[in-house]
């Protein structure tokens, strides 16, 4: 009833290959975008922007980057956090060396630095596979975080050893720094994430996406049909690290405001990996669903004991949160190894054939 696909005839190839060939999908996307762009900014509180909306978008973007590498190209990586750090430090250096530079340009340039580092650490993937590669990416994780700590040039020899974001303007609006309003920051992040997500969807549908999937599913067969494995893997590392780097820059410039090297340690890598896995490897939508779940869960859990009138100390609460997320990961893996995106796919299938189950 809500999802009747009958009668939607495609008469041209371009209509058949449209981003959303089914009208209801396009309408649904329109509603989601309208909520994100219009309704949420009107109703959300400052707390919601700072604790929920902005982190969800940034983590979803990082998970999207990781998903290109792990979900589409099949190269498991545990070094995401460090690549986010490269993006953040690159953006920081760009904005301090060129104070006049537009923040948008600095942001998109900083992605290239993390892409370069990503390709450098992706080179071993040509010889190393599977879990060996996953551990090899940990080399990037530990080495880069150590570098952020030791290389004074990266943080302009601050006494604190941390990078701090100064106030930057864009078209007369303050977008970063302590004086920026949460709504402006939210819009900036939202637009960035929307643009990159759209580009990524098209990239994964196109030539490169199909090449990556072929490499993921069976690399030898892919090589036999003429795919250049080296180019496929390295482009996956480059695109993935580019997006991850931008997510890292956004994380520092629009969410945290300042960053110490240990912000980018292995726990961040795992957080992003959890989001990608819980959301569903090899899907775009899943990153957003996973990020919503992971970010919202502690906030919701925090509310429950108050509502029930049970006093819980913040330390205990954190332990329980760890336990629940751990149990949740295992449960989701058991119930649906393809993640939350698969749940949505199942619901959509059901809606299409409803009310006739066969």
């Amino acid at each position: 009833m809500f999802y009747r696909t009958a009668g939607q005839f495609k008469t041209t190839y371009s209509a058949d290959q449209a981003l959303y060939p089914i009208r209801q999908d396009a309408i649904l996307l329109g509603i989601v975008l309208a909520v994100a762009y219009v309704i949420l900014p009107m109703v959300a509180s400052e707390f919601a922007f700072r604790a929920l909306l902005v982190p969800v978008l940034i983590y979803a973007l990082a998970a999207l980057g990781l998903n290109i590498l792990t979900g589409f190209a099949g190269q498991l990586s545990l070094g995401t956090g460090a690549f986010m750090g490269v993006g953040a430090y690159a953006c920081y250096k760009l904005t301090t060396i060129f104070p006049e530079m537009n923040i948008v340009i600095a942001l998109f340039l900083s992605g290239f630095f993390s892409a370069a580092v990503g390709v450098a650490f992706g080179l071993p993937s040509l010889r190393i596979k599977g879990f060996y590669l996953a551990i090899a990416t940990l080399a990037a994780q530990f080495f880069l975080v150590w570098l952020f700590e030791k290389a004074g040039w990266l943080y302009n020899y601050n006494a604190s050893g941390a990078i701090e974001v100064r106030t930057l303007d864009l078209f007369g609006l303050t977008v970063t720094g302590p004086t920026a309003t949460p709504v402006t920051q939210y819009y900036f992040v939202l637009v960035t994430v929307t643009v990159i997500t759209l580009l990524t969807i098209n990239l994964t549908r196109g030539r490169y996406g199909r090449t990556w999937k072929a490499v993921r599913d069976m690399d030898i067969a892919a090589e036999l049909v003429g795919i250049n494995l080296m180019r496929a893997k390295l482009t996956a590392f480059a695109v993935s690290s580019y997006i991850v780097g931008i997510a890292g820059a956004l994380l520092v410039f629009f969410f945290k405001g300042a960053a110490e090297p240990n912000l980018f340690d292995i726990e961040l890598s795992f957080l992003i990996l959890f989001i990608a896995i819980i959301g569903g490897l090899g899907s775009i939508l899943g990153n957003f669903l996973g990020a919503i779940l992971i970010v919202a869960l502690p906030v919701i859990l925090n509310v429950i004991p108050d509502a029930l009138g049970i006093p819980v100390s913040s330390a205990t609460f954190e332990h329980i949160n760890d336990m629940i997320i751990g149990a949740l990961i295992v449960t989701i893996l058991i119930v649906e190894p393809h993640g939350l995106a698969r749940f949505w796919a199942v619901i959509r299938e059901k809606l299409i054939i409803w009310p006739f189950p066969h």
Partner: protein, 319 residues
């Protein structure tokens, strides 16, 4: 030329000039290498028998040590705390097999790997929930581990060896010998190896998959307890111990994921090399603290030449 000299010649000159200090460094490296090897051994056992990359091995070390100390704090005498902890580790192995692994049979490797990360997170939360997050002191003396130190004077210098480190090495050797005897001589051990070689064949001759998995995870738990005791005696018991579990990963890369001897040799090599690098190159030239990444970069470079690790099985791909 000067930089080349300071990097490539000078460290060796220093080593030759102060052989007693070099021996001290080597001994420290050896002891931490033994501990890396022990953790890697837990990984290898589980990977060999079930193709599961058990990320939870590190947290099992912390959990075992915490349980031991926590039980002792609550009035259980030390001699009774050890078997009780073993019982807890058995329950843990049983629970993991029943709740996590059994429903996930036949899933891709990465799903099982993720599940063990879930277990890791759960155990961190659970351990802190039950025993508290603060640091604890390992009950070294109560367990009868000597705490004194031995002094030697080789080459006219001075060498200090802690007795608990000697105990750690001795315990580790005992454990490895016992484990190898068990794997090679007992029927259970042969069943584990059979399962590691071929699941289908092992099942069809009547080896119970679930029994063996529980057993293997329990053995990994025993290794974790021993590691926890000896490392806890050196550095205290806290969740920071988990970082040494990450150190076991380059050991696995170097030694190969399914090789017991690889884990031991790789562990010792990494322990000694990273200490040498830190003392003679890291601190003078790189600002120190190179131990966080040296093992990984070293293993990565070795892997570029031997992608399956030093002792790993060569991967033959067919189409």
């Amino acid at each position: 030329m000067d930089t080349l000299y300071t990097v490539f010649v000078d460290p060796f000159v220093q080593m030759a000039a102060a052989p007693d200090f070099l021996m001290q460094v080597l001994w420290e490296g050896l002891v931490s290498g033994v501990l890396y090897a022990l953790i890697a051994l837990g990984f290898v056992l589980i990977f060999k028998s079930s193709r599961i990359f058990n990320f939870a091995q590190g947290i099992m070390v912390v959990f075992a040590a915490l349980t031991l100390v926590g039980l002792h704090e609550n009035g259980v005498p030390a001699w009774a705390a050890v078997p009780l902890t073993l019982l807890v580790m058995y329950c843990l192995a049983f629970g993991i097999e029943r709740v996590v692994l059994r429903p996930l049979i036949n899933q891709p490797d990465i799903v099982l790997f993720m599940a063990t990360i879930g277990v890791t997170l759960f155990l961190i939360g659970f351990g802190e929930f039950v025993f508290g997050g603060e640091n604890k002191v390992m009950i070294t003396e109560q367990l009868g581990i000597p705490v004194g130190s031995l002094e030697f004077e080789p080459f006219g210098g001075f060498l200090l060896i802690e007795e608990k480190d000697v105990t750690a090495v001795a315990l580790a050797i005992l454990l490895v010998v016992g484990l190898l005897t068990f794997l090679n001589k007992s029927s259970m051990g042969r069943a584990i190896r059979a399962l590691g070689d071929d699941h289908q064949a092992a099942l069809s001759v009547g080896i119970s998959l679930s029994t063996i998995w529980v057993l293997v995870w329990f053995i990994a738990g025993v290794i974790a307890l021993v590691t926890g005791i000896v490392w806890g005696a050196r550095a205290g018991v806290s969740f920071a111990l988990e970082v040494i579990a990450y150190k076991a990963l380059p050991v696995l890369m170097l030694g190969g994921l399914e090789s017991v001897s690889g884990a031991i040799i790789g562990g010792l090599a990494i322990g000694i090399l990273e200490k040498l690098f830190e003392i003679y190159w890291g601190q003078p030239f790189l600002g120190g603290n190179t131990e966080t990444w040296f093992a990984f970069i070293f293993a990565l470079i070795v892997l570029l030449f031997r992608p399956q690790g030093l002792f790993g099985e060569k991967i033959i791909e067919r189409i």
